[in-house]
Amino acid sequence: MESGMKQMNRPVTIAYWLKSLWRYKVSYLFVLPSVVLFAVFMVVPLVRSFSYSLYDWDGITSPQFTGWGNFEQLLKDEYFWNALKNNIIFTVLTTVFTCLFGFLFAVAIDRRLKGWAVFKFTYFIPVMISMTVVGVLFGKILEPSFGILNSLFGKLGLESLQLAWLGDPDLALYTIIGVTVWQYSGFTMLLFLAAIEEISPEIHDAATLDGVSGFKRMTQIMLPIVKRVVFMVIMLQIIFSFKVFDIVWVMTLGGPGSASEVLGTFLYKTAFRSEQFGYASSISVVMTLIIFTISLIYLYFSNLGRHEKE
């Protein structure tokens, strides 16, 4: 640092500047490959996504500048609002249910209810499976005429439950939400469990002495202690659910009609089915801004943000 101060008096030429950076050559060499990948595959595409959104472009003829045209069109596009609405329903319901179930499971496991090791092991299994596999598998299970769920209901005499799970426009989105909750409650469980297990046994002993038990202990003692983690997990689930594509794509392609269309599938179709790349980019921009904002809130409250504030 001191030598740096002394050298300030020297004329600052580019050659001198480069020479002083040369001292750090190994560090720069180490970060270089990552920086190159970021530039090529993230920063430049991000900038280009913003600039494409100002053009009309079919991918073949040369792009026509339209200014805010795409965004104006987007605001009037009922399919966009429908996809956004579905995205919000998907996000709210999957977040609520995965967090609710996950927290309940985590408390049950932490309190060592009989079978806790079985719960802990099995609940996490679907997290390790790809969403595509889960989507295709449930697509077949929920098939209305020969899928095993409806044939099970038939055997049990519950014909009224033999629904067109993915074929009914009023039901398809909720079926997909149900499958997502099935898959990811084990993930939130794991995160809550990691936090709850940090609670010291003294606190539980005190609670036991005071006669606080069961439901009350869960809501009034454990929940406040792990409040920060609960907040983080909720944010994480919101970010994750907002980016949904795979499961909707393999289960319904956004259908029937556009009943289960989400922003991800809408973006894909606009770009690669109707070849409106400029318009698709304006959808990208809206998605990016929404998710980026939520993610920054998450990062601000996470340890990463805290570390930088110090």
Partner: protein
């Protein structure tokens, strides 16, 4: 009252166990059945342990454009090479950022945190266009590099905080012995980071193995497709779908990670929690 509550909770917990296992068991059992048997007796055990569906799906017997064996190997190649790039690059950058201050290091770190917040879906159109212009569509190495870039920001953050937290004594000793900086990294830094490397692999492997959106757009030729992509196309093809072979494919896509989970349950659970709650 309290007793009824407990009974309900236990009932829910065990029903959830069944809900977790039943669909997977159904998948596994169905993968051994012929198409006729699947329709006629969906509930029974397969009448014999017949790997015909697996062989058929692997070689794409009677299927157009689908050879799950090729797709499986593509997935393995892409996943493994992505993890190798990811491990190497995140360790290098994490080491530089965690061990040394250099002009721009703080800015770089903040920029990397910003990149974590970028949703990669928004990059789909420009990346597709760029790959098209560079004639790198259907290129497995290119898609590995893209996956590496997407997984890097968070992985670097993990590696950096790891290198910040461990003492530098070993490296100092090596430097005094005249070891060059790159040698110090290779012989001491990298081997020391084994635990953090496994965390990086754990939090990324499922995403990379399962990625669908970019694969759909960037891999259009049958011979370069990944397994999830091939399965999604297979299931959407209404006319030539063989149920048994499709289920064999689903099982093939599930087994590698599930086997990993059976063997490394403790590490995986810890790694995932550490990664997410960092």
């Amino acid at each position: 009252m309290k007793k009824i509550g407990m009974v309900l909770i236990y009932a829910f917990l065990w029903v959830w166990v069944i809900l977790m296992l039943a669909p997977l068991l159904y998948m596994l059992l169905t993968s051994f059945k012929g198409d006729q048997e699947i329709l006629n007796s969906p509930w029974t055990l397969p009448h014999k342990l017949d790997f015909g569906n697996y062989v058929g799906a692997w070689f794409g017997k009677g299927l157009t454009d689908i050879t799950l064996g090729t797709n499986f190997l593509n997935s393995i190649v892409i996943t493994v090479s992505t993890l190798v790039f990811l491990t190497l690059l995140s360790t290098l950058a994490g080491y530089a950022l965690g061990r040394h201050q250099f002009p721009g290091s703080k800015f770089l770190y903040i920029a990397i945190i910003g990149l974590i917040a970028v949703p990669v879906h928004g990059l789909l159109v420009p990346i597709w266009n760029f790959m098209d212009q560079m004639a790198m569509l259907n290129n497995r190495l290119a898609i590995s590099l893209i996956y590496t870039a997407f997984s890097l920001p968070f992985s670097i953050v993990i590696m950096r905080s790891y290198f910040e937290s461990i003492p530098t004594a070993m490296e100092e000793a090596a430097r005094i012995d005249g070891c060059k900086e790159i040698g110090v990294f290779w012989h001491i830094g990298l081997p020391m980071a084994k635990g953090a490397v496994s965390t990086v692999i754990i939090i990324n492997v499922v995403n990379i193995w399962s990625e669908l959106l970019f694969a759909t757009v960037l891999l259009t030729k049958p011979e370069v497709r990944t397994l999830p992509l091939a399965i999604s196309l297979f299931s959407q093809n209404m006319y030539s779908t063989s149920f048994g072979m499709l289920f064999a494919g689903l099982t093939m896509a599930t087994l590698p990670l599930l086997v990993m989970y059976f063997f490394f349950q403790k590490r995986i659970v810890k790694g995932m929690a550490m990664g997410a709650l960092k």
